[in-house]
Amino acid sequence: MDFTYTETQDMIRDTLSRFLSDSYDFEHRQKLIASDAGRDPGVWKALAQDLGMLGAAFSEEQGGLGGGALEHAIIMEEMGKVLAVEPYIPTVVVAGSALTAVGGPLAEQMIPAIIGGEAIVAFAYAEPQGRYNPANLRTTAKKEGGSYVLNGHKAVVYAAPWATHLLVTARTGGSQSERDGISLFLIDAKTAGISRRDYPTVDGNRASEVYFENVSVPADALLGAEGGALPLIEKIMDEATVAICAEAVGVMHKLHEGTLEYTQQRKQFGVPISKFQVLQHRMVDMFMEWEQSKSMTLMATLKLGLPDNERKAAVSACKAKVSRAAKFVGQNAIQTHGGIGITQELAIGHYFKRATLIEGQFGSHDFHMDRFEQLVLPD
């Protein structure tokens, strides 16, 4: 048993942390997210080409640094600390992992493009009626000769406005919530028949409603077995879930730190409000939630390689705990700041917004409690 990081992992964290504190200075970030593009494409390029960060988790054989889930977690925790809007999770964690799992010519072509920063992949899995169940799908893909024809509507697809490719879940068979009959496609985002409504999200990211109208894609866009992709989809979503929990740990870090600093400056009744025991104990509770979130994220990261049901139980335990923690730390950070906390002026409110959306991404507390219970405490 050993819970220490390697030198390489420490180096990844340090390098990234230094780079992001320059490129994601708070004022600068606010300008970026308000710009037309909603981001600075140069940051992604630099992450790929100057820092080699996008390859950290790929094997050396694939052209990466030989890392894995721990590297994803380190990178996303640092991203969380600066509220980065980079599409790391859909591109590197989700698409990278799906391509690695499936292999073949498409993987050989796409992985270098991901590591090099040329490809951005958005993960189009959610649908308006499906809530958090990845099997609840109305989007269809019909085989017609040497191609598939996609029809449907994907909801709140993060990073879709920037994407070169879309990773799409669709039904090639089965009924709306059946586990069988689900397939996964990686397709060019500019394929004819795809239309988008782009919008900013309330936490400063960009997303789209994506519509597929008779979108014809070649048969080799299919990742894995036709109709049998759900286990793979669940696996990559679990990896994404843990990565977003790591991001939450970074966000909570700043919410907690910001609250400590503010209470030491802010004076009421003639003393810094940090001297009040009721606030001290609340900040201790926030600290404990954050610490336990670190522990759960590490636990789930280390269990991502276990058999399906053990992995799912660990990830759901993690997300359920981290969702609650993010809510608690976020709400109490705002409450402790008082009025200034609910303005756009201070960074704290923007961390709160991100924490709030993370609670629901890749499954809410309730969704993951249900999944945990079905696996660990079955009737």
Binding site: F3, H281, V284, L298, D379
Partner: protein, 397 residues
Amino acid sequence: MEMEFSPEELAFQQEVRTFIAENYPAQLRGKQDEGDELSKEDFLAWHKVLYEKGWIAPAWPVEYGGTGWTPTQRFIFSEETARAECVKLMPFGLTMVGPVIYTFGTPEQKARFLPRILSGEDWWCQGYSEPGAGSDLASLRTAAVREGDEYIVNGQKTWTTLAQHADWGFFLVRTNKDAKPQEGISFLLIDMKTPGITVRPIITLGGEHEVNEVFLENVRVPADQLVYEENKGWTCAKFLLAHERTGIAGVASSKRGLEKVKEIARTEVDGDKPLLSNAFFKRKVAELEIDLTALEFTELRGLAGPNANKGPGPESSLLKIKGSEIQQRLTELTLEAVGHYGAPYFRGFDEGDNAHPIGPDYAHRAAPTYFNMRKTTIYGGSNEIQRGIIAKMVLGL
């Protein structure tokens, strides 16, 4: 980063498991299974087995009788003893006064007391709290006045756990009334048979005689039983407090407790289904299990993480807070689970009484245990005091 045990660690785990299976006192196991109250001899029976094996004080330095195990081995050992439901070793000698003596004591004190702590010959108790000094321990008033080669001690201690069995006690006493509260306290070792000591039972909510009041009236204590320097007792006390919190998370025994709650909730029937299938009860069990996992990995991060060799710091307050909350929630769920049969008051078996108590076996102790375990968030520095420690030492507030 590696979550699994190494082959050497797995072999060690097997060794511990086999040792417990072959050497745990059968009579003690029987009493535990029956839910009988355990005597001093019962507690000492397991202590002696471990002492003879050389495993009685894993955390001590090897020169004083420790095992030289890695933190992971110690973790495995505590997991295995909890899994096998071995009785808990009394902490007063082994994890409290022992480390104080080998850290601060004179060579004579070490030679005199440490071997008898290891062997179990001396049963220790802790004379800290007073009626007027609980969370504000430094305000204690029990006074020791030096007269020649002796201290004359007068005062009253309270909440003294199992003092009725104790041969020796370690006491915090005031030796300087004029100094700042923390700077006038000394750490004295007192033979509990010394004239002038009276131990009176305090019966707690579950009906147990676990704690006592200790009255000291002109108790004459040889001066060579002062540990460290006069008026430096607070240093020993703070050291001990940090030591006491190691392992206080109680992860291994709470894991076993959780399994028991599940067993009960599978046995109890709610309508036409097991209680564990009731969505509300199930959610509480699931949340407890998740919180226990969070506690376990928080402990492991400290144990085998980058700061593994620095020893327990103020972060251990987190383990105490969350660990004690979980211990209480387990007893709360057990009491909820047994439903009506939490009510009958079972006083234990009278001599020659074979009548089976009312309700299922697992229900007899549910309420008394729930009542008793309210202590966990109060003792060892209440959870409010622990929050104060984190606020000051970790957050710098």
